[in-house]
Every structure is written in structure tokens, then in C-alpha cells.
Subunit: 377 residues, 2 copies
DNA sequence: GGAATATGTAAGTACGCTCAACTAACTAAT
DNA sequence: ATTAGTTAGTTGAGCGTACTTACATATTCC
């Protein structure tokens, strides 16, 4: 569940509940059940949602008419009483577009079904484009992707670098020379479908939360690439922060005697952890590679320990080149965090690498759409 | 808005919305408006809530009957059209009990009205009581306080040390020798009114959020006393954390070469910042007092910088002895945080000391009740 | 004094859900 | 084979909530 504002549909400014909202909420409840737990009968849905069988039947009737769910017949094994009719999410009834703008050299995207499975991929080369030229590339990529599916498109999700506000305006993305760029609004107008834009680390955490193997507690995804950023899901919803700048951990100083950073400070986490720096340092170290990774992990752990103590996180996922992250670095980070926090903070904590790999951002962008349009995540 | 479970009334396990919920929600919307912005007419409420005047009239009628709001007549200045009838919250229609268990030597409490104003105080001396003896003291204190007001009591809120779960059970509070103590349930049974229990730092942040001069972004309250703990309000609601242990920053290591802590680790934030340690170190330092405070502030800043970067907080409030916190210490923390985070993280950030003083926990405990019972905060 | 403007109420309507009662389809016991 | 018991899903009446429409009321502006 995100609090992102869908662009391309009217939004209610107040907190009032109409009956209509109630119905949409209950519909989401049923969809969520089918989405997470797989096929179920109307009676099952009634039990899990707390709604009466009558109401469930009515909601299901509407969703059957839409084609969003389908009847799958009776289950194999049979028990006492009339056998139920199983209902399942029609994962190909509509498709979703997910787009990742976080790579430095190209924009990638995919068509996904409602189960988050990639149906088709496409990408455009950036060739140094910035500003409106880069926006044009996003438009082209999105249009191409929509053309690649026969199915109706539920919406388009975009994971962009930089700070993105809740309306899908990119406040500031230095690499693309975007500043106050209303990306969601402009895409929605061109494409005629709902568009959601969020920071790439934020979409990554959504992807991991929904399609990774994660639990229900607080989840932090740390994206390690050219830069370092993080996304947080707390209490089931994405954290935005006061100015939409939550997760900006890359330029937190971790070593006052470290290297100078592009941001003009000394010893930012990025100077320790960003892939180019880490690779260079590994080369320099030669045989002492493990040592370098361990040290980086310790510094990461030092930066994360206060966050872990403060938020009582359940899971930290490292997303980036596995050969760098999934060894001494992760172990050192894990060890450091546990050494620096109370047992009550760290004992429920799991630190692992991403299960979604390269696609985290794309999949997460799709989740943005699923959550916004169907209330599913 | 907290997600605390009121004890003393049935709770709905599912996420379904009844019409009843809708009505309660809209009622809260109106109360919230009156609570935060002061008197308003039915027409004003209609505009701010988005509900029709008809619906507002109906809801107001019910609240008038309950005595929760009152008609205040027409406003002084008049404009075109029929003059409105102002409505105001009847801040003394019911009273609320707030209790603070965080002091080491006594339990304090107060009767407050709906505006959070203290009407009467009472306290009991702890005299080393722990376990069930301490629970008995809480019961006695609560009973006494309820007896001190003529008004009906909306509920009882308690700020307890230790880790408290969402049902008001104290999971672990070493100083009181409580472990898995169902405080809210036991109080609710004895007192016959709704009871809410939360960690003292959590109630403090609620108090500061609702009755302090704070904005709407993320708020962190750091309680500095015998120990050090924090509470967080993000997106308008209290953060609990995976196991209800959010805010446990006191035993995060900030100085690996520091003093040994009671928790067996070395250099926890508490060893630097807890009042007894700080006082002792100030005595030892003599004339170099400012130096000691500056250093403590720097270490605090070092611990908080990653949190600020990660959460993009709007406000950090230091709560504790002002003579220690509100000078070189705060300045150093402020400076250190800004030096160690990006401008985008820190420029919207305000670091200040508490405006509520000693009463933060008591007032926050009352907010727990207001939020839970009236949906107001 | 009449037009314009704004507040608040009354009556009727739409919608979403519930309850109670039903039909349908199966298993288990006699 | 018959009957009882169980579970699934549907039907129709009713209730609660908020909406729309229409109106009474009270004031300012001209």
C-alpha cells in the first residue's frame, strides 16, 4: 500500500469516505487475498475478509464481469458439503508497464502481468540525453512497451533517480538534469493511462516487499550502484519523508578521514560503498580483497546501526552486484550492526541480498501500479 | 492517529469497513478540525471535510446530544448572508487520565481536559516496588485520579518504560521487573474505562506532536534521563517497529572507545548522554563544561545523522533537563547532523528542546486516549 | 424594500452491506 | 435407497449513511 497519488484520475482532497470508497476497499481486500494466497472460493474470501458471503458474491460478480478474476472450477479433493468454486486472479487480464530510469547509460522497461512476471522487455539507449530529451526517451519507451502487449494496460510505473514527490514530479535528479519535472503528469497525458513515478530505491523496496521473500515487518532496501540509496517500507507502506527525500543515506558521512565525495563532503557512505569506488579499491588491494569488503561492510554497519535501533527493522536487503555484496561485506555489516545495537533490535533482523536481481526497480514500478490501481501489494 | 488497540472494547480483526466505521471516521474528521483549528460553523466544517452541510448537521446533532461539542452563538464580525452558528469542542465534557511511569522513584499522573490542559495532579512514591507491587501502585494511582474529577472519564493513557506492544502489554521493563505484563488489560478490567499503554518515549512524541509546536513532517523526540530513548511519529502516526521496539537508540554504540555500559557493551549512546553520566562528567570537567556538552552533542549528532538521512525528518525534539540539553549540546548535535547529511535531508530540519517540559509523557499518554477514543490528534 | 448571499433543515433517493431464508450439491449414517 | 447433516452460493427485505433537491431563515448590498 503506497500513498502515491495516481495521476490520470481525479483525486479526493479530503479524508472523507464514500460508500464507493468502501466498496473499492473491500474489492482490494478480496484481490489482495487472491493475489497473496492464490485461488480461493467465495466462502473462503468471506471468512478471510469478514464480509458476508452475500457481499463477497456481489463483489466477485463485478470482478468476473471485468475479467479481473476467473472461476477455476472445484478443487480436486472433496469434503463434506457442496464443493466450492475456486476463484483465481486472471493474471493476464491486464498488463502493467514498469520502467527503470536508474541506469546511467540507458532506460529499461518491461511489460508485466498481474503476478509480476515479465512478459516482454524493451530499452532505449540514453546517449547522454538529459532534460527534455531524456523525457522524450521515457515517453518513447513507454509508448513502445504499451504497443508490445495486446492486453489493456492497467498503468505505467516509473522508478526514477533523484528526489520524487508524491504526485510523481521529479524534484531533483542531477544526472538527468531534471528539476521540478512533472514526469507522471506529462506521461499520463500522452499515454492516457494512470502513471506513477517514484524514486528508484523506493520502487525497489516495493518490489522486494511484494515479490521478494520478505516478511511483514519494516523492510529496508539498500541500492548499491553508481550511487547509494535506500528505500523503506514501514508498517506496510512506503516512507516518503518530509520533503520526499527519505532514503538519502548515500551522502551520510561515515568516515571523517575518508575520501572526498562528489558532493564536496568527506567520507560519505558512497565513497566507501559505491560500485566504482569499491571496484577500484579492490583492484588496488589485490589479494587483500576480502579485507576491503570487510571494511566497507563495517562502515555500512556503522551507518545502519542507529537506523536499526531507531526503527526496529525486520529485514535489510542489499541490492546491487552480488559478487561484491554477498560475502564478506554483508557478513561484516551484519556483525557490526549486531555488535552495535541491543539484542531486542537486532535479534529479529535479517540481512540478505536481493532475490529479484536486476529487475527490482522494474518490478517495483509495476507494484506501484498494482497498489495504486488495485490496492494490491 | 495511532494504531494502538484500545483495550476495553471489542476490536474488529479484519480490514473491513462498516457504515458505522464511516460515520465514526467522519465524526473524527469534524472533531479533529475543531480540535486543531478551534471553533467553526457547520458550513465551515462542511467545507473543510468535504461532507455536505446536511451530513455535517446530522453528525453535529449527535455530538451536541453527547455534550462533546457546544454551540457558541454567532461570531462577532458579520458578512453577507445568514450568520453562522459557531461550534466548539466542549473541552471539559469528559476528562482524560494521563500517567507517567518513567521516573525511577515515583509514578506521576494527571487529570486533563480535552485540550490537554492539566486539571489536577497526583503521584505515588515507588519506594522500590517492582513486579505486581508496582502494578498495584499504578492501579491505585489511576483509581485516585479518576476520583479526582467529577466528569466522566474518556479513558486512561499510560506511558511506561520498556518495550510495550500494540495491545498495551509491557513486554519487558527491567527496572520494574515486568515481563509480558498485560497492564492495559488489567487496568481496563479494574477501572471499566478504555486503557492505552505505550512506551514513555512514544507517548512523549505523541504529546509533542499534538500539543507541542510541531509541524506535520516526521518528528523524533529523544528522551534523555536515567536512560536514553526515542519515539517517532512518521506520516502522522506512531512508529512501533517490528517487535514494538522502535526508538531503542540508547544502546546503539557511538564510541567504540567509550565507557562500559550497563548493557555490557562499550560506548552506547547512554554512556555519553544519560543524565547521571553527563552530570558526573561535567563535575569532573569543572571549567571545561562546555567542552563536555559539545562532545556529547557531537556524538549524539553522529548517531542521529544516518537516521536523519534515512527518514528525512522534519523535527528533532530533545526532552530532558534543559540546562544540559539546550546549549552547547544541542548546537553541537545540530552542527554535526548538518555536516554529516545532505542539504536536502537537513535543510528542512529543526532541532529544539521540548516545549512541554516535565509533562510530555503525561500529556502524550492523554493523546493516546484522545486519538484512540475520538480520533483526534 | 428587494436582490443577493449564506446558513442550516427537511424530505426523498441511492448505495452498500447485513440478516434470514432459501436452493444446490455433496458426504455419512442407517 | 433413504435420511440427516454440512457447506456453498443466491435471493429478497431491511437498515444505515450520505447524497441531492428544495426550502426556510437571516443577514448585507443597492
Amino acid at each position: 500500500m503506497t500513498t502515491h497519488t495516481p495521476v490520470g484520475r481525479p483525486l479526493r482532497p479530503t479524508g472523507k469516505f464514500l460508500q464507493e470508497d468502501s466498496r473499492r476497499h473491500h474489492r482490494s481486500l478480496l484481490l489482495q487475498q487472491l493475489f497473496r494466497e492464490g485461488p480461493a472460493s467465495r466462502a473462503d474470501l468471506s471468512r478471510s475478509s469478514g464480509l458476508t458471503r452475500v457481499t463477497v458474491s456481489d463483489l466477485v460478480k463485478a470482478m468476473l464481469a471485468e475479467g479481473l478474476v476467473a472461476e477455476l472450477g472445484a478443487p480436486a479433493e472433496s469434503r463434506v458439503g457442496k464443493p466450492p468454486t475456486l476463484l483465481g486472479l486472471s493474471v493476464d487480464s491486464t498488463h502493467v508497464i514498469g520502467i527503470d530510469l536508474s541506469a546511467t547509460d540507458r532506460f529499461t522497461g518491461a511489460v508485466l502481468n498481474l503476478a509480476g512476471e515479465v512478459q516482454a522487455r524493451h530499452e532505449v539507449s540514453l546517449d547522454g540525453a538529459t532534460g527534455t530529451a531524456a523525457v522524450a526517451l521515457v515517453h518513447a519507451l513507454a509508448t513502445d512497451l504499451i504497443g508490445m502487449t495486446e492486453r489493456p494496460v492497467l498503468g505505467v510505473g516509473v522508478g526514477s533517480p533523484g528526489v520524487v514527490d508524491a504526485t510523481g514530479t521529479v524534484i531533483d535528479a542531477p544526472n538527468l538534469a531534471w528539476s521540478g519535472m512533472p514526469l507522471a503528469a506529462s506521461l499520463a497525458e500522452t499515454l492516457g493511462v494512470p502513471v506513477f513515478v517514484a524514486n528508484d530505491a523506493n520502487t525497489a523496496v516495493l518490489g522486494e516487499h511484494t515479490f521478494g521473500e520478505s516478511g511483514d515487518g519494516g523492510l529496508l532496501v539498500l541500492r548499491v550502484g553508481t550511487g547509494v540509496g535506500a528505500g523503506l517500507v514501514l508498517g506496510g507502506s512506503l516512507l516518503h519523508g518530509h520533503l520526499g527525500a527519505a532514503g538519502e543515506i548515500g551522502h551520510v558521512v561515515v568516515d571523517t578521514e575518508g575520501e572526498r565525495c562528489a558532493c564536496s563532503r568527506v567520507g560519505c557512505l558512497e565513497t566507501v560503498l559505491a560500485v566504482p569506488r569499491l571496484r577500484r579499491r579492490l583492484e588496488e588491494a589485490g589479494a587483500d580483497a576480502a579485507q576491503v569488503l570487510t571494511q566497507a561492510g563495517e562502515q555500512l554497519g556503522t551507518a545502519l546501526a542507529p537506523v536499526v535501533g531507531m526503527l526496529n527493522l525486520h529485514e535489510i536487503v542489499l541490492s546491487g552486484p552480488t559478487e561484491l555484496l554477498d560475502g564478506p561485506l554483508r557478513d561484516a555489516a551484519d556483525r557490526t550492526i549486531r555488535a552495535r545495537t541491543m539484542p531486542v533490535s537486532s535479534e529479529g533482523l535479517l540481512i540478505r541480498t536481493s532475490t529479484l536481481g536486476e529487475d527490482v526497480v522494474i518490478v517495483g514500478a509495476a507494484v506501484l501500479v498494482l497498489a495504486g490501481e488495485l490496492g494490491v501489494s
